[in-house]
């Protein structure tokens, strides 16, 4: 479809046009431009997942092939969710539009598009709520901020709820704790009722449902991928590690996002896990059935998230392990921390996690029985159980990106920092209001790390990249550490665009590079087969 080319009048393009007249947001229709939205979900994936209205469609088309009577479906869906979620009801009712959240959203900061202000993003749905569920909206209409639900509104929802990465940064600054992530989650549930999702979410969700992980790796492929990592580890260290799969009676089951099984720099993080666990002599197993820590169902609906999450406890039970360790991932930990136990607990077939190396009892996970790899590693380091040589990371000047979900949906802030400080000699923090609970999103979270929306991703990640640029210029930072598989997939592109020369690494990769393993040969390269400082032939 060739875009209509309208020739500008002479002088039109270069004429100085101060302040275009502002149109009210309700009168500003949404536009779909290539590069700024994700493809629509595929028919076959919706069929696999049993989601409504499976069909081939494209957001670029005028007709989205929504079934007749969709308005009723959406409004009934809203009514149902209002009665099920106090959060939704309260967030619809009490916003005073004070604007404290407005400039806290990375998409708003990078685009200036007012509908990306969290308050307006919520207002997109609140206006419909007012029209159909409140008296004032029914009678006063637009004066009360209410509007009719029509196809344009639906398209606008789709556009803007898939421009929110559910990062919760706005929620930190809201005087009532209104969480746009919660509104987006419900908004996406409603959209899914009429078959509106994006391919990058429904595809991985369908793969995860049938094959156990988002990438759709079948059991032999998982074993094969890990096997080739084992080969690489042997090349680098001279040590052959022996991971096991679906082994009954292991003490620990390890679950990590499948992004770590394929693609750089995820695989180096995964090699890190393998080396660390081997060095400790940990009695653990991988599972090919529960081979996904992440949960793209969470970006579809709560039911979908629950369906995908089921495998973790079910597999732990089948294998008879004592507890579960989870790898580095962002939204995975929001789900594990705040949802899993409620969905599928109580996990009374597991035991309270105890580190077999240090004896530390993880009381903080006494109900879910699942701990974060960073908690586990930080504990080892504190007890001096690892032989570390941080000089191997001396060529790196590291900064640390807090992933949204572990910081604002969990509070895992200091553990990774303790680890990084123990394994790297050069660590620099980014400016204070861009880290920890105020961290900026990578711009690709909540299922938006597709490639067709690359421009949108570069925009969404700009505030984060801008803070990295600052430490790059000030301290010469050349490595961005994180604990999230989506970060590892998305940040390399972001850095290549905004801050060329800054690499991306998982924290455990840094650990493994510094880890002096028993009986290892003298290492000459790091896990990326790059020469170690002062040891390579090229230096």
């Amino acid at each position: 479809m060739a875009p209509k080319v309208k020739l500008p009048k002479p002088g039109e393009l270069s004429k100085i046009d101060f302040k275009t007249p502002a149109t009210d947001w309700m009168d500003t229709p949404v536009e779909f431009k290539p590069g700024t939205f994700c493809w629509g979900s595929k028919e076959k994936d919706l069929l696999t997942l049993g989601l409504p209205n499976p069909r081939q469609w494209s957001p670029a088309d005028e007709d989205w092939k929504i079934p007749e009577g969709w308005e009723t479906t959406i409004l009934e869906g809203m009514a149902e969710r209002l009665s099920k979620y106090r959060s939704f009801k309260i967030f619809m009712d009490i916003c005073v539009r004070c604007g404290a959240c407005a400039d806290k959203c990375h998409f708003y900061i990078a685009t200036g598009d007012p509908k990306n202000m969290p308050v307006l993003r919520a207002e997109l749905i609140r206006s419909v709520y007012k029209k159909y569920f409140t008296k004032s909206g029914k009678f006063l209409g637009r004066l009360a901020g209410a509007r009719e639900l029509d196809m344009n509104v639906l398209k606008e929802w789709w556009s803007y709820f898939f421009q929110c990465t559910e990062c919760r940064r706005c929620s930190v600054f809201c005087p009532y704790g209104i969480d746009q992530a919660e509104v987006t989650i419900i908004g996406r549930e409603l959209l899914n009722l009429v078959g509106l999702n994006i391919d990058w979410i429904s595809g991985p969700a369908a793969a995860c449902y049938m094959k156990g992980n988002h990438l759709g790796l079948e059991p032999h492929a998982i074993a094969g991928n890990i096997e080739s990592m084992v080969d690489d580890i042997e090349d680098i260290t001279g040590i052959r590690v022996n991971p096991t799969f679906n082994r009954k009676g292991a003490e620990i089951m390890f679950v990590t996002p499948s992004g770590d099984l394929l693609g750089e720099p995820g695989i180096q993080t995964c090699m890190g896990y393998l080396m660390l666990f081997h060095e400790l002599g940990l009695d653990y197993t991988w599972s090919t059935y529960a081979s996904e820590g992440g949960n793209f169902g969470f970006f579809t609906s709560n039911d979908m998230a629950k369906r995908l999450n089921y495998k973790i406890y079910a597999e732990a039970k089948r294998l008879g392990v004592k507890y579960i360790i989870g790898g580095e991932c962002g939204h995975m930990w929001r789900v594990l921390n705040q949802y899993m136990d409620t969905w599928h607990g109580p996990a009374d077939f597991l035991e309270v996690p105890v580190s077999p190396i240090t004896g530390t009892v993880f009381e903080n996970a006494k109900s879910t029985k699942m701990i974060h790899i960073s908690e586990f590693t930080a504990d080892l380091i504190k007890h001096n159980k690892l032989n570390l040589d941080p000089t191997r990371n001396d060529h790196l000047k590291v900064t640390y990106h807090d992933s949204c979900n572990p910081s604002r949906g969990m509070g895992l802030l200091e553990e990774p920092r303790e680890i990084i400080k123990a394994v790297c000699n050069n660590f620099y923090e980014m400016p204070e209001n861009t880290i920890r609970e105020k961290t900026f999103c990578c711009g690709s979270g909540s299922g938006l790390n597709a490639s067709e929306n690359m421009e949108q991703r570069m925009r969404g990640g700009f505030p984060r990249a801008n803070a990295v640029k600052y430490v790059k210029e000030k301290h010469g930072v050349n490595m961005l550490a994180n604990i999230c598989a989506v970060d590892r997939a998305a940040l390399p592109a972001l850095m290549d665009y905004w801050n060329p020369g800054v690499g991306v690494t998982g924290v455990t990769e840094l650990v493994a590079n510094a880890l002096v393993m028993k009986g290892e040969k003298e290492r000459t390269t790091n896990l990326r087969f790059e020469d170690l400082p002062g040891k390579g032939g090229n230096e």
């Binding site: 009801k89 604007g99 009360a144 032999h220 604002r408 509070g411």
Partner: protein, 333 residues
């Protein structure tokens, strides 16, 4: 336009009130019936809204964690912003409700021109916090002060509050600090909706209306106290009558009083159906009022749905041969 509409609506209300005030026959309606109705609508509406919220369960425990979690013993937990005890939550809520903690967080980093090139400095954007704090606290104190009309004898606490509020001892009757504060604060809140472009853009008529209402109520109150004085004894008689459900209508109260009480009544009646309900909602916001002990204590979802899952057996049936080939143990050979 949005502003104008709200402004005209309030002007209209003031005209109605003035009419009521100057037509003696209507005093019974304006002094007794409307206040009762408004109060009933306020209490009824407030309870209705809170009950309605309360009827929707909280399926998941979703606190926004704004600080270090409780994990390893040597890592210092932020016990207030990531609370794992009821006490922590109480402190967190108190900070939020009494001191607007989250608005206070509104910091920003600035690059300023320093002596040796640009320097990074931490400024703050605390005006909204300050304005809101002054506004809400003044409002509260003013309401408490008004108790002296409804109670006999006047409680000691109310007397103390009044004397503190009027401690400047300027003018006769003494000027209350809160009267000045609330006017300044409400004007600030109004002006920022006009002049801060972002806030202007998101504002609705429903945001301006309460501001104009509160402004007019404050002004009518001040006018009544200092300029168009009313018969305080009569006002108190009326107020106590209302409070004890033995309404009496003393004569000669003065018209300004009827304007004031009419506007107050409208605000009260409007309250439950508006965003002003944030007063109740803040206590029930799940991202703030929940204990962040997700992995320690299981949270129960009352409607935890049964969902269709893909079981291990189904999985193994599909991949058994491939698993065996790869040396992965299976349940059924």
């Amino acid at each position: 336009m949005k502003v104008l509409f709200s402004f005209l609506a309030v002007i209209l209300l003031i005209l109605v009130a003035t009419m009521g005030a100057f037509i003696t026959n209507l005093h019974f309606v304006f002094g007794i019936i409307i206040p009762y109705l408004a109060f009933a609508m306020f209490v009824g509406g407030f309870i209705y809204r809170v009950v309605k919220w309360g009827r929707s369960p909280v399926p998941f425990r979703i606190p926004t964690t704004i600080g270090q979690q409780k994990s390893l013993p040597w890592i210092k937990q932020n016990k207030i912003e990531n609370p794992t005890s009821a006490f922590g939550v109480i402190v967190r809520m108190a900070m939020e409700v009494l001191f607007f903690r989250s608005l206070f967080r509104n910091t920003k980093t600035e690059l300023r021109e320093g002596q040796n090139g640009p320097e990074l400095s931490y400024g703050s954007a605390k005006w909204l916090w300050l304005g809101s704090l002054f506004f809400h606290w003044s409002f509260l104190i003013i309401i408490i002060r008004h108790l002296r009309f409804f109670l006999e004898p006047i409680p000691f606490a109310v007397q103390i509050l009044e004397s503190v509020d009027g401690m400047l001892q300027i003018g006769l009757p003494a000027i209350y600090l809160t009267d000045a504060f609330i006017l300044v604060a409400v004007t600030y809140l109004f002006l920022r909706r006009i002049f801060v472009p972002q806030v202007k853009y998101i504002s609705l008529p429903a945001d301006f209306f309460p501001l104009f209402m509160i402004m007019s109520i404050a002004i009518s109150g001040i006018l009544m106290r200092y300029f168009y004085k009313v018969d305080l004894v009569a006002v108190k008689q009326l107020a106590i009558g209302l409070a004890t459900f033995q309404p009496v209508l003393p004569t000669g109260i003065g018209p300004m009083f009827f304007i004031h009480i009419f506007l107050v009544s409208i605000l009260f009646a409007y309250f439950p159906m508006s965003k002003l309900m944030h007063m109740g909602g803040i206590f029930m916001s799940p991202t703030r009022n929940m204990i962040s002990n997700n992995r320690m204590v299981r949270h129960i979802n009352p409607w935890n749905p049964e969902v269709e899952v893909h079981t291990y057996e189904q999985y193994e049936d599909e991949f058994r041969e491939k698993m065996k080939k790869a040396g992965i143990p299976v349940e059924k050979e």
